[in-house]
């Protein structure tokens, strides 16, 4: 189909419907309201579909849990403080191996923070976020087109690995408008997962739970999750590289920050500086092997994030001392310009004596 001009939030909604999302449960919070409103307009009256504006983010995620139990594709969305409230439910989804798509159009924190774009939820998203030993797949789009593409992909990943998938965007991606092309038509028939609870008809009754009084039983559940996480690391890690072949300095950035960094790198290249970029698309699993491989070409890395330095820890872990990592970040919802990042890049470049 032809490209249409849409906000990122609306594009996620449209992509979700086209991915066969049957239920959406949400609660108002800026800067993701356009997504909830899109679902109210376009999903709520669709045949076989349901939309509920819940009484809280906690209720919304537990409705997601219920709909996922019943075997349908389901999504919720929120922004940072609301995502904190959802952590209880995300832990239960992970524990019970239930697929779901959770969108975080993150904003400045901590606390009530601000309503503008920030990347300060990286730790929360990539370390599980709630209680217990679990991970979620975390996808970090950097354009409206990618929001749409990764939303579609998120539902497929959630079903494939029976796991909650987080789309970690930010207020800027959610609210900006860009041309977007939807590559899939909404399915005629909505998919029903095989392990769903739909009444014990023609099969023995089914229990979905993790609670047990036997620690060894829960230990095995943890090992089983761990094995799946290892498989996801092997199969689903994804990233983009930009002008890294001859780079003396590599900028590592995700999401909207990578978009800003790209502008800065283009300016640097015009000035003859050999700067490239690595953009993780999956934040978990993190593209550690790619970082390690890039360290064969250069030892100099600059991590740029719109926070106080969170992804930098994954870069350092991946390098294991084999590279030198610098950091530039703006927390609180401040949005750096490409020229600001260009100044940081060129200063570092000359400081390190790179040619």
């Amino acid at each position: 189909m032809a490209k249409v001009l849409m906000t990122g939030n609306s594009a996620i909604g449209e992509a979700a419907i086209r991915a066969g999302c049957q239920c959406y449960f949400g609660y108002p919070i800026t800067p993701q309201n356009e997504l909830t409103e899109y679902m109210a307009t376009h999903l709520s009256r669709r045949k076989g579909c349901s939309f509920v504006q819940a009484e809280s983010e906690i209720s919304a995620i537990n409705m997601v849990y219920g709909a996922s139990l019943a075997g349908v594709r389901v999504m919720t969305s929120s922004s940072s403080p609301g995502i904190s409230l959802k952590q209880e439910g995300i832990s239960y989804l992970a524990a019970c191996e239930l697929p779901a798509v959770i969108v975080n159009m993150s904003r400045g924190g901590p606390g009530l923070g601000s309503i503008v774009a920030s990347q300060s939820d990286y730790f929360q998203a990539t370390r599980g976020g709630g209680h217990g030993d679990y991970r979620t797949i975390v996808l970090a789009p950097s354009s409206v087109q990618e929001l749409a593409d990764l939303t579609h992909h998120a539902f497929a990943l959630a079903d494939k690995y029976q796991i909650p998938v987080i789309i970690l965007g930010d207020g800027m991606l959610g609210q900006m408008m860009e041309p977007v092309e939807f590559k899939h038509e909404a399915p005629e028939e909505l998919p029903i997962r095989s392990r769903a609870l739909r009444g014990a008809k023609g099969r023995p009754s089914r229990i979905i739970k993790t609670f047990t009084s036997k620690p060894t039983e829960l230990e095995e559940i943890n090992w089983s999750l761990y094995r799946r996480y290892q498989l996801i690391k092997k199969e689903e890690t994804s990233c983009e590289t930009f002008l890294v072949e001859d780079a003396e300095l590599i900028v590592v950035a995700f999401g909207i920050a990578a978009r800003i960094a790209k502008g800065a790198i283009k300016n640097a290249r015009t000035d003859g500086l050999k700067v490239g970029m690595l953009r993780p698309i999956t934040l978990w699993p993190f593209p550690s092997a790619k970082v390690e491989e890039l360290a064969n070409g250069t030892k100099h890395f600059l991590v740029f994030e719109m926070n106080m330095g969170q992804m930098i820890e994954d870069v350092q872990l991946a390098l294991a001392g084999k590279g030198e990592v610098s950091f530039y970040g703006r927390p609180g919802g401040v949005i750096p310009t490409p020229s600001e990042v260009f100044r940081v890049v060129s200063r570092l470049y000359y400081q390190k004596g790179l040619k």
């Binding site: 049957q22 239920c23 449960f25 349901s50 509920v52 819940a54 009484e55 809280s56 906690i58 209720s59 919304a60 537990n62 409705m63 997601v64 849990y65 219920g66 709909a67 996922s68 139990l69 019943a70 075997g71 349908v72 389901v74 209880e88 439910g89 239960y92 019970c96 769903a196 609870l197 739909r198 009444g199 014990a200 008809k201 023609g202 009754s205 089914r206 229990i207 979905i208 739970k209 993790t210 609670f211």
Partner: protein, 251 residues
Amino acid sequence: MKKVYTRPSSLKRNPFHYCPGCGHSIIHRVMTELIDEMNLQERIIGIPPPGCSVFAYYYFDVDMAESAHGRGAAVATGIKRAFPEAIVFTYQGDGDLAAIGTAETIHAANRGEKITAIFINNAVYGMTGGQMAPTTLLDQQTTTTPYGRDVKLEGYPIRMSEILALVEGAVYIERTAVNSPANIRRTKKAIRKALQTQIDDLGFSLVEILSPCPTNWKMSPLEAWQWIDKEMTKQFPLGVIKDTTGDKDAN
């Protein structure tokens, strides 16, 4: 010879883990009888809570899933919205439904969700060792009201069913008890009506059941049965609290 008593087919062959004199086993028995009688085993989905009845799935031979504490009404909403053909019930204690899950319960009722809540009121947090519940009576001693529940410090025992009766989407609410054969029969009748309300797609239904917890009340099972009559029913009177199922405009 005619067989007059048998295990319901939707009740599994597992011995109950509940304490002697506990109301849960009676309520499980009554509910599984109803699931058989109403032919619901193949379409019913149960949501037991954290707490003593977290193991309800060891006894109910129907589809079940665990819920986070207090979130039963939201989980049930999700299931019912995704799969409206199911008959969905939550099984919740007083702390679950009337403290941590108050918002979920009131708003599910207000939306008129076609779900049924089985609300077990035993005036304490049972599994955690007998702490004060929102329904603990005034002057009642618990591990967190060791001097008795003092209204100045701990407030009043909350009448959740009466609060829910004000909510328009709730169409059938009854309070019963399981402390005598007659009350057990009334409980069964009330749960039948609540499930039928859901089958008829009329709205939110709830049965509050006063249920003995001899272990945490530090009473014999018989004393616990008597305490329900003498003390609990004064604060929580038995009977139909709301029934608009006959109204044409009931949602």
